[in-house]
Amino acid sequence: MNENGKPKFGMYWASSCGGCEISVLNIGEHILTVDEVFDVVFWPVATDFKYEDVRGYPDGYIDLCLFNGAIRNSENEEMAHLLRQKSKVLVAFGSCAYEGCIPALANFTSREAIFQTVYLDSPSVDNPGRVIPQPVTAVPEGQLHIPEFYNTVKSLDQVVDVDYTIPGCPPEPHQIWAVLQVVVAALTQGAELPPKGSIIGAKETAVCDECLHPKSEKKIFRFYRPYEKVPEPGVCLLEQGIVCMGPATRGGCGALCPQVGMGCRGCYGPLGGVADQGARMLSAVASVIGVGEPEMDERMLEREFETVMDTLVDPAGTFYRFSMAHSLLKRAKIKD
């Protein structure tokens, strides 16, 4: 602590969309309490601090740093190391920092393929010189440097030590506020913090626990994408064939999506002890495909099974939508 005696607060966005920042502001008037309790020392979206300012802070100067965004490039990684060094408590805030989230879907392809699409092949691109970003470019005045774009997106904990994780895309405001209250109580009244490494601001049970749709035994005969079917109200979406990641996703969000007829996307990540959310859900879904009779010929069974699975468009992108970087797969192996 310094001059004004307030604990120091920092927030940073690496490879992210900015939704996490909005979600923090969505805690409403409580943001005034945050301002009252904390001294904001770094928060690019809200305040004008430079990287140089952070470099000037003593180690461990920031009491609470919320880090959102995945590690997409060398700048992200550099800031992760810097903020780790300058923070007492570093929190992986939101799905990108926790498990890679949407940016990590790029792990299904390669840097070369991404550049090819984005800078050369995309119909809206006009790039007659076929210029592709290079980390170092020689110009008459000397060398220009831009951050290096990595081949593989990583989660925050894959590059630095992380104290806590708040899941969600984005984390729900009521959960953010609950976490902030715990931290404030710890900083001002000496209350105890949760054990290091905890996932906070979420529940220990799946989204289904909070979802009000009644559930029964499941048998799926075909899958529907959200636009293909108007869900029957009051019936478990998965039982209707609408892919809902609820059973494989940590709760705490209040089951907002399934309650309005949109299958859970899975943004709160896997449940405790699950190494791979996508594999878990795939295994669960495959278990309840409704086809097949015990005496059926295996090839016939396989065909019927595949007919059902073919209605499940983009299973990898569906089941690993948020968790790719942190999954057992981490990335797709690209053949040369």
């Binding site: 049970t205 029964s216 035994e217 499941k218 896997p270 190494a275 309840v288």
Partner: protein, 667 residues
């Protein structure tokens, strides 16, 4: 966690393992490279499963204070129990011993010694990592209810019920038809001895009916099965027979007086008639008739009551309703038998279209002295004796269109038919076979006897049975078209009568029955035994046994043997009074279960139920067999399998990939 003290024991298995794996190097490596994971002793021995090998382990457990043991030897199927027991005898919880296979999975499937040794290292490394995560487990014990349910009153069920009841334990015998006896009661003679089926069967039936320890529930079906080994709750529906068995004397006057005759499709195979109030046959057990309400004039029109009027005992009760009975039993034997292949499906043989084509079961009734023709072998007109008869083997069997299996009994049955036709009519007999299968005691001798009686044997698959004649000799005959493969020529054999030795098929509802009792059916539909050779009457579900043709086609001696074998297994269980269950089970951690119900209909043993009040799924530990299906399917990680936890499986993978030894390679 404090580091475990692990012993690694490598078996040579004579040269089975040592011939392909460098066991000395493997042992030395395990002691060195896995020391940092807690391996304090590593030994190899020629036969670890011998008592000397086991003593080696026991001595180390005591003297070296081992807390975990890894044995690298054969498949756990063979010796897991041996080594667990050796550890238990030495004072260690048996579930802290892990058997890894370096024989079936390494030495027997590889030839390159260096590569095989390297693989064996990985297998041991996986076992060491896994065993660290093992927890001591205690077997569960459940009391065994000494009562037994036998489903099916054919010869298999009769034998099983008799064996158990004669030992002084109670049996509930449930039979769908109005009488016990099954298919055997329909036969006249039995091969190869040609003794009369009724003469040897009916005394057994009578004993069943009067046995003090047997509750006979005929005209009844099992509706529901709950519970688990030692403690099943079975719901049985006893169909209304409209005859009060407390009053009925079995005098059969009602049958005589009933004005309604109907074709009997079951016992008489459609060849004869029975009344609307009927017993399947005169020696039926129990002796009480039943009213077939669908064909009864009174139930149709409200008038008649001939049976009631003539019943002196006043036993007819048109108001009777189905009874639901709840039974508690400890073990169940399924002896539900077979259905005969519907010969109409083999359209080119003309059954159902050509009058004088008969099925094997019809022919059994024709030859039966108590059958519709009093045992006279005649054509469909009821009077003409055939002068020539063709018997076609393998109808619906060994045929990819229908059933790829051999129905086992047809060759011998067809030989019996040939003999009976010869004996009673003197007709020319032709047997059309693919291969002659007369294995077992005195079967081939019977074949030779029939050969010497002048029966013709033509090898080949009959192409067609037709009434279209090409020559004057073929007129008004059935012509059998066949390629005689022994002379390599097409032949047309005109006969008066054709008998189709139809396949035995699983009961039409065998799938539902299997599901009801929590067992499985093979691809062909027969109930699956626990082990095809070493455990042929047990199933993968504890407490459920199978016997007779429900398990696969077989003859009467084998059926009786299985009935007795299943009874012996049940008696063994009953004598134990209580039973230890393997503690390898799946468990739901209620605090983690979100009640999504993905797992609810996956369990092959129906061990998972949903607790509506708590909104969580619950596994019945006594029903669970630890297969792991639900563990893999639970998307919330709320179900863990003891001895197969995610932690243990992941640790084993970690070890198999040698990540415990080398730094992981990061790209």
């Amino acid at each position: 966690m404090p580091q475990e003290r692990i012993g690694v024991y490598v078996c040579h298995c004579g040269s089975n393992i040592a011939g392909t794996v460098d066991v000395e190097e493997l042992t030395a490596w395990a002691g060195e490279a896995l020391r940092h994971r807690g391996v304090v002793v590593a030994r190899d021995y020629k036969f670890m499963c011998s008592s000397l090998g086991q003593d080696l382990i026991a001595k180390d457990i005591k003297e070296d204070a081992l807390t975990r043991v890894v044995v690298a030897a054969c498949s756990p199927h063979l010796h897991e129990a041996t080594f667990r027991k050796a550890c238990a005898d030495a004072g260690m919880n048996p579930y802290l011993c892990e058997l890894v296979s370096i024989r079936e999975q390494v030495s027997w499937v590889h030839t390159d010694k260096a590569a095989a040794t390297a693989k064996a290292k990985a297998v041991i490394s996986g076992g060491v990592e896994r065993v660290i995560h093992h927890a001591p487990l205690e077997p569960m014990s459940v009391p065994i209810n000494p009562a037994t349910l036998v489903v099916g009153g054919g010869i298999a069920g009769i034998q099983a019920a008799m064996e158990i009841a004669d030992s002084g334990f109670h049996v509930y015998l449930v039979e769908r038809e109005p009488s016990i006896g099954g298919h055997m009661a329909q036969f006249d003679k039995t091969f190869p001895t040609l003794d009369c089926a009724a003469c040897i069967l009916t005394p057994k039936m009578v004993s069943i009916g009067s046995h003090p320890h047997i509750t006979l529930l005929t005209y009844s079906e099992v509706e529901q099965v709950d519970g688990y080994v030692g403690n099943f709750n079975v719901t049985v529906r006893k169909k209304a027979s409209y005859v009060n068995s407390d009053l009925c004397t079995g005098c059969s006057v009602c049958e005589e007086k009933c004005p309604k005759s109907v074709i009997d499709p079951v016992f008489e195979a459609g060849l004869g008639y029975r009344k609307a109030i009927y017993r399947s046959f005169p020696q039926a057990v129990p002796k009480f008739p039943v009213i077939d309400a669908d064909n009864c004039i009174y139930f149709d029109t409200g008038k008649c009551k001939a049976c009631e009027i003539h019943c002196e005992a006043g036993a007819i009760d048109f108001e009777q309703e189905d009874q639901i009975l709840e039974l508690n039993v400890g073990n169940i034997i399924l002896a539900t038998g077979y259905d005969l292949f519907d010969a109409r499906r083999e359209t080119q043989y003309g059954y159902g279209r050509l009058a004088n084509v008969f099925t094997s079961l019809e022919f059994e009734r024709l030859t039966n002295a108590a059958g519709p023709t009093n045992g006279n072998i005649v054509l469909r007109d009821g009077e003409t004796t055939p002068k020539s008869v063709g018997i076609i083997h393998c109808v619906g069997s060994r045929d990819r269109k229908f059933n790829n299996y051999c129905s086992v009994i047809c060759c011998m049955q067809s030989l019996k038919f040939a003999h009976l036709v010869k004996e009673r009519t003197g007709a020319e007999v032709f047997n059309f076979y693919i291969d002659m299968r007369t294995a077992y005691k005195e079967y081939d001798e019977f074949y030779q006897r029939v050969l010497s009686e002048g029966v013709h044997f033509i090898r080949g698959r009959v192409a067609e049975v037709t009434d279209v004649s090409n020559t004057p000799e073929e007129e008004d005959k059935l012509v059998i078209q066949i390629e005689d493969t022994r002379i390599g020529r097409q032949r047309r054999i005109p006969v008066d009568m054709v008998i189709l030795s139809a396949a035995l098929e699983p009961r039409h509802d065998s799938d539902e029955v299997a599901h009801q009792f929590g067992i499985s059916c093979s691809v062909n539909g027969w109930f699956i035994e626990k082990h095809p050779k070493l455990d042929p009457v047990a199933t993968m579900t504890e407490g459920i046994y199978i016997a007779g043709c429900a398990q696969g086609p077989k003859d009467i001696p084998s059926t009786v043997t299985q009935g007795a074998a299943a009874a012996a297994r049940v008696l063994g269980r009953i004598q134990q009074k209580e039973m230890a269950l393997e503690p390898i089970r799946a468990e739901v951690t209620e605090a983690l279960c979100s009640g999504c119900r993905i797992c609810n209909n996956l369990c092959p043993y129906t061990a998972i139920v949903f607790d509506e009040a708590k909104e969580v799924s619950v596994i019945n530990a006594a029903l669970c067999q630890g297969c792991g299906t639900c563990v893999a399917a639970c998307p919330s990680n709320a179900i863990s399998g003891t001895q197969f936890s995610n932690e243990q499986v992941m640790a084993q993978l970690h070890g198999l990939l040698m990540l415990n030894i080398m730094e992981p390679v990061v790209s």
